[in-house]
């Protein structure tokens, strides 16, 4: 093993170590959420995951963005097969170790090149859409500062990675043409061959320099990108799959019945009923991330910040403060903050903050519970469920309902209808 192989091994080991540490933290954070059963109906879940995550079905609701996304998605997955070879070559000092596959290898490398070029173009179009055409959903207040930088950064990194891959192939192919030892004849280069004519004029040393530096840039870029995921909306490339698998399978109109309330209501109806002993009533609704379900928290980490939810939200469309995307981003930010507090100060640390340090009452009150956001989300995130939990807390724990709602509550309680009519008049319509 040469010096460069050792360096490579160190990089690889460090990247994997860092990544697994981050993933462990991520799982711990998601587990801060309340329990909820999403392990039923495995076969239905698998088929939803195949359709929505693997098959990208909901992305296609917007055909242009959908098509571009499918290119980047396929490109990203397939080109990463190449990483297997890079890792073996890097560790053992071999070159294009998989080339013994012969014409199949040529086919692979050829298709990687075409995909890489398509990804490159798609990412450029994405950058133009985001920054020049100014598609409105990329300009809501929550998509400024870091989220905006994050989005552009991801696109630029992908462009750089794809460029490095193509440059590396071009230099490699020029070296192959010059029959430099070590650079065995292998691969097909339908895209980078356009550069080869230029490269053929350069010296062998310069070409080796380009080939090596793009090779290193490519692999270090990928390893660094891997460790960038936990800080980025790009985490969805991993979490989209489990997140869709654990989707809500009930009708969207159905809201959960709070068990803690059921127990109390049953006691009121039947004073002899025995309250379950293993029950921790806790609070009603959610004040902080640990009051939400683990699926709510996984949703937050899976959010791609695409804003499709917000662009369909009737409240947001009509200028209200509510944006379902912001609800998801705020939940993730708060969860990260709580996670950092735990790292620093242990599990029971109270920083005096909560989800309400991020989300205002005005936002949650504006929701019509129409489910447009849930329908629109390409990775089956449910912002409505978080909004409802926050509402429950505000109404039941803080009694801070708007006065009109308080009237509705007392009307329902006293008259059995949200308006002030006498229950004995309920059938009057029959005789009118």
């Amino acid at each position: 093993m040469g010096f460069s192989n050792l360096i490579f091994l160190l990089f690889l080991a460090f990247a994997i170590f860092l990544f697994s540490k981050n993933i462990k933290k991520l799982i711990r954070n998601i587990r801060l959420g309340r329990d909820i059963n999403r392990s039923d109906n495995k076969s239905e879940r698998l088929s939803i995951m195949t359709r929505v995550a693997l098959g990208q079905s909901k992305i296609m609701a917007k055909p242009v963005a959908g098509f571009l996304h499918v290119i980047v998605y396929l490109g990203f997955i397939i080109i990463n097969i190449e990483v297997i070879e890079i890792i073996i070559d890097g560790l053992f000092g071999t070159h294009r170790i998989l080339s013994f596959l012969g014409s199949f290898y040529n086919f692979l490398i050829g298709s990687f090149e075409i995909l890489a070029m398509s990804v490159l173009v798609a990412c450029i179009v994405f950058l133009i859409r985001r920054n020049i055409i100014r598609i409105p959903r990329f300009f809501n207040p929550e998509i400024t500062k870091w989220p905006k930088t994050d989005a552009n950064l991801i696109l630029i990194i992908e462009i750089l990675l794809m460029s490095a891959f193509l440059l590396m192939n071009a230099a490699d192919s020029a070296l192959q043409n010059k029959e430099v030892s070590h650079y065995i004849k292998a691969g097909a280069f339908p895209v980078s061959s356009f550069l080869v004519n230029i490269f053929n004029n350069y010296s062998v040393n310069f070409l080796i320099f380009i080939e090596r530096s793009t090779w290193w840039f490519h692999i270090i870029g990928i390893l660094a990108f891997l460790n960038y995921l936990p800080y980025s909306k790009h985490l969805h490339i991993i979490l989209a799959f489990p997140n869709v698998f654990f989707s809500n399978l009930n009708p969207k109109g159905q809201f959960s019945n709070m068990e803690s309330v059921t127990n109390e209501v049953k006691l009121m109806f039947d004073p002899n009923a025995v309250p379950p002993t293993n029950l921790n009533p806790g609070k009603f609704g959610a004040k902080d991330v640990s009051d939400l379900s683990w699926k709510n928290l996984m949703d937050a980490y899976s959010c791609t910040e695409c804003g499709r939810c917000t662009s369909e939200c009737p409240a947001n469309i009509t200028g209200k403060l509510l944006s379902p995307r912001k609800i998801m981003m705020d939940t993730r930010d708060r969860l990260e903050e709580v996670g950092k507090n735990i790292d620093k100060n242990g599990l029971d640390f109270d920083d005096g903050k909560s989800l309400f340090s991020y989300i205002s009452q005005e936002e949650i009150l504006a929701c019509t519970s129409c489910n447009a956001c849930v329908q629109a989300c390409p990775v089956n995130i449910d912002p409505l469920s978080i909004i409802m939990e926050l509402r429950r807390y505000k109404i039941m724990e803080e009694s801070s309902a708007p006065s009109e709602w308080n009237n509705v509550f007392s009307n329902i309680e006293n008259n059995g209808a949200p308006w002030q009519f006498s229950p004995s008049d309920r059938l009057n319509w029959r005789d009118e």
């Binding site: 009708p251 009737p314 009509t318 200028g319 109404i395 009237n407 229950p423």
Partner: protein, 266 residues
């Protein structure tokens, strides 16, 4: 009105049982259907159809109470479950098996949220019942006044996205020989009227527009003669919207049940 009164047969469940009979189906009228002047007309249209076909139905009458939907969506789970438990004990007391309702909110709550609390019924929306009556040949529909008219359907959130029923109302409208025109945002992408989530009962938060205005603009842009819907709250919101644009004399906001009742001269 007085002739209507003479022809509408609306037995309560108590009246049924007094005769030693039991109904096939319970008609859950709902708060809007019982008390709101506009929605009462929808209720009567449903009754006319049921009477016309001879469906043996009953209402709970004064024993009916709010399903608790507005309380639940507003975040008051206590009040919701209190209402649910009360209603369930009455429904179970009468051994109710099947329920039809003309309100998607009642429909959703009874169908999806009551079973957990001990209320298990087959619950259908009135558009599903009407479609079934047509499919089985019990109800004949001819276009009548709506022949060739441009009708658009506004999807109620709790019927459409909430419970995946997009077709029943559309199948009925097509039976009227009408031209069904779709708004850009329809079916799974339908835009809310603005009433759901207990918004009906409070002022909207600060913004640049009311949701029902946004939705009405969209409906007006395709020039329908009728905006059809299947929810008393959507009906109110769209009616207000149409009035806001002073179009109430050219565009009618009607429930699918009213379309059928009127087309069949019931």
């Amino acid at each position: 009105m007085s002739s209507e009164k003479a022809t509408l047969k609306v037995p309560t469940i108590g009246e049924y049982l007094a005769n030693g009979e039991s109904p096939e189906i319970l008609f859950w009228v709902g708060c809007a259907g019982s008390f709101d002047d506009r929605a009462k007309k929808i209720t009567k249209a449903v009754v006319k159809i049921l009477n016309h076909v001879g469906v043996k139905f009953a209402v709970l009458g004064t024993e009916e109470s709010c399903t608790g939907d507005p309380a639940k969506r507003a975040g008051n789970e206590f009040l919701f479950q209190m209402q649910a438990m009360n209603n369930i004990s009455i429904l179970n007391g009468y051994d109710i098996k099947k329920i039809v309702t003309a309100c998607p909110h009642c429909f959703n709550t009874l169908k999806n949220e009551y079973p957990d609390l001990g209320g298990n019924y087959e619950v259908i929306h009135h558009t599903q019942l009407i479609q079934n009556l047509i499919d089985t040949g019990k109800l004949k529909v001819e276009g009548g006044t709506f022949k060739g008219k441009k009708i658009t359907f506004h999807d109620p959130c709790y019927l459409g996205r909430g419970n995946d029923e997009y077709e029943a109302p559309r199948i009925i409208i097509e039976k009227l020989d009408a031209e069904l025109v779709e708004m850009k945002r329809c079916k799974t992408n339908g835009l809310c009227c603005g009433a759901g989530g207990a918004q009906m009962f409070k002022e909207a938060e600060k913004g640049k527009k009311e949701i029902n205005i946004e939705r009405t603009e969209e409906a007006l842009s395709i020039n329908p003669q009728v905006i059809a819907t299947g929810c008393p709250f959507c009906n109110t919101m769209m009616t207000d919207g149409v009035k806001n644009f002073n179009k109430e004399h050219v565009i009618k906001v009607m429930d699918v049940a009213e379309l059928i009742a009127q087309a069949n001269d019931l």
